[in-house]
């Protein structure tokens, strides 16, 4: 297993990107260790040239607000063996989906903007569109829970000893 790395992607949809920031802050302590264990194939926050083909694990943050984002999510799902929802917006569509809870009058007030930017009637969590294998909850995601999840897949994909 020497030299084998976990092929991962880090994706972000509608949210405040708090978990992306937490992930990047976790690199303060983990960067060199992760460089040996992870092949970061796709991470717009860190690089321009990205590739999502044949990922072992896709970590996906944010809620889905448009059909084009739903299509991108399906594409990510089709390219990854495991998909992990990261943070509250991805897991339960909140708080990014707070407009789902608006009364009829407020929904009417924002309707022209929802239509202008081709947002869907309802803001959706990831599991409402694709199969989600795992999730790391929190707003932002809980660091310890993320490390446990990452460790689980490092073992499952044979990158480190189980």
């Amino acid at each position: 297993m020497a030299g084998k790395k976990l092929r991962i992607g880090w994706f972000s949809f509608t949210c405040c990107e708090d978990s992306t920031i937490v992930w990047v802050e976790m690199m303060n302590e983990n960067y060199f260790k992760w460089k040996d264990l992870l092949d970061i194939r796709h991470a717009r926050v860190l690089r321009k040239i990205n590739d999502m083909a044949e990922l072992d694990v896709a970590f996906v943050e944010g809620a889905i607000t448009t059909e084009s984002d739903a299509k991108k999510l399906i594409e990510i799902r089709n390219n990854s063996k495991v998909l992990v929802a990261i943070g509250s917006c991805a897991c339960v569509a909140m708080p990014a989906g707070q407009r789902n809870t608006f009364d009829q009058e407020t929904k009417k007030e924002i309707d022209f903007l929802v239509k202008r930017f081709r947002q869907t009637d309802k803001v959706r969590s990831l599991k409402e569109i694709v199969k989600v294998d795992d999730q790391v909850e929190g707003c932002p995601m809980d660091e310890a829970a993320f490390l446990r999840t990452l460790d689980k897949y490092l073992k499952q994909f044979g990158v480190v000893d189980a």
Binding site: T14, L46, D69, C139
Partner: protein, 431 residues
């Protein structure tokens, strides 16, 4: 990229190494730029509507979710607005803790932008992930600086993203002596690293000058948390409460974020504006050790925003060390905030520029109306026009070279699309 008659169309999608999502359409004809449209494509989350009817005392917890990386700024400005609305005066200790929380964010957030987003541009690489082993020392130092800010946030505010110790009117926990000592030692340990990095940004020949108006809050200690004055480089000097008389909303139909003009003109906010208007208020230790770099300001070179951030990073460290070394922090009993009817304004400088909050509270303590204006909205018009300058400066080069120059320039603005929608997909039309 495709040709439409003799028109060239360029589309740049999903600008990388920025916070959030944006795209750009560029139309070129006869080697002249015909049209540039910068679209913030981060989906709107309708916070203006969502905060109505919410309890004012919990409002900062909700609005800090507008942005992950500058959540401490949103929490702080929102708290200030609520406190002004209910006429609640915070204690001196709360003010110091608030300044420390904001400084910890400036250290972490400026380090993120400078070292992970912008540094690869200066090193001729796509990503910090592509740095070779000879650059490991540079990476170690970058992460050490970022960690110093992140760890300081944890000590002062509970955590760096969506802080847990802060409330309207007070902090629920104060740091103990051991935590303070450790924080001071860590800040001191990275101070020289910051100076080393500053030389890289200073020595760069990246240049794109724009004759725009620079706007910033001005306070006497460069913390921007105390009440201050809003000033611009043309001589405006405005009370914080009167900001709405000077900022005008500009609807940009193709962007999910509203733009703003200042007295009817384009303007720029952020570190470059702050350095152009405030540099005499930097900490004395920063002024002593950064004199060569500070002398580069005032500047109209947009890329000097990175140098300005690097200087501010050291100021944030120096002023934090002074506050932590010269004050004793102890749990204190402060009066509980009592909600009442009123309007309040909160203005601070977030890492990317001036952040305005206005809240109107009814007699039951609920928010009737709230208005939030974030830095990237204010920079949107100036940023779009600077993209046009960049394309014109590079016309004739191949598409990839132009795209790289555009992204590099936009990164220098350090936009935050999550905030603005409350970065970049380029659609080229004609090259």
């Amino acid at each position: 990229m495709h040709k439409d008659d003799d028109e060239e169309i360029i589309t740049l999608e999903n600008i990388s190494k920025i916070e959030g999502h944006g795209s750009l359409d560029i139309r070129i004809k006869d080697k002249k730029v015909k049209e540039v449209t910068l679209k913030i494509t981060e989906s709107k989350r309708f916070y203006t509507q969502a905060i109505r009817g919410k309890m004012a005392l919990s409002l900062p917890v909700q609005t800090s979710r507008i942005c992950g990386t500058c959540s401490i700024a949103h929490f702080t400005a929102c708290s200030e607005a609520v406190e002004n609305a209910i006429k609640y005066a915070i204690s001196d200790q709360t003010m110091l803790l608030r300044k420390l929380a904001v400084y910890s964010m400036f250290i972490r957030d400026h380090a993120l932008h400078l070292y992970l987003f912008s540094l690869p541009d200066y090193m001729g690489k796509d990503s910090v992930l592509d740095f070779d082993e000879s650059q490991n020392d540079l990476i170690r130092k970058a992460f050490a600086i970022k960690a110093a800010g992140n760890n300081m946030s944890k000590v002062i505010a509970g955590r760096a993203v969506h802080m847990t110790y802060a409330e309207v009117g007070r902090f629920s926990k104060v740091p103990d002596a051991a935590e303070i000592r450790k924080t001071i030692d860590e800040l001191k340990s990275v101070r020289d690293y910051v100076i080393d990095f500053t030389e890289i940004f200073y020595a760069s020949d990246f240049k794109l000058e724009r004759d725009t108006d620079f706007v910033s809050l001005v306070t006497s200690d460069y913390s921007f948390v105390d009440p201050g004055r809003i000033r611009d480089t043309r001589g405006a000097d405005i009370d914080e409460n009167r900001y709405k008389d000077f900022l005008d909303k500009v609807v940009i139909p193709y962007s999910e974020a509203t733009g703003y003009s200042f007295e009817g003109r384009e303007f720029m906010v952020g570190a470059l504006a702050r350095m152009n208007l405030n540099k005499e208020n930097l900490h004395r230790d920063t002024r002593r050790d950064m004199a060569k770099y500070i002398a580069a300001f005032p500047s109209k070179n947009i890329y000097r925003n990175n140098l300005a951030q690097s200087i501010e990073l050291l100021h944030s460290i120096d002023h934090s060390i002074e506050i932590l070394e010269s004050n004793a922090f102890a749990p204190e009993t402060v009066p509980a905030p009592v909600v009442k009817e009123g309007n309040g304004v909160g203005v601070i400088e977030a890492p990317r520029g001036t952040l305005y909050y206005m809240v109107s509270i009814d007699k039951t303590g609920k928010v009737q109306y709230g208005s939030i204006i974030v830095p990237t909205q204010q920079n949107q018009i100036c940023m779009e026009r600077t993209v046009r300058d960049t394309v014109e400066q590079n016309i004739g080069k191949d598409k990839h070279a132009i795209e790289h120059e555009i992204e590099k320039m936009i990164r220098a603005y350090d936009p935050c699309m999550s905030c603005a929608s409350h970065f970049l997909r380029i659609n080229w039309h004609g090259i």
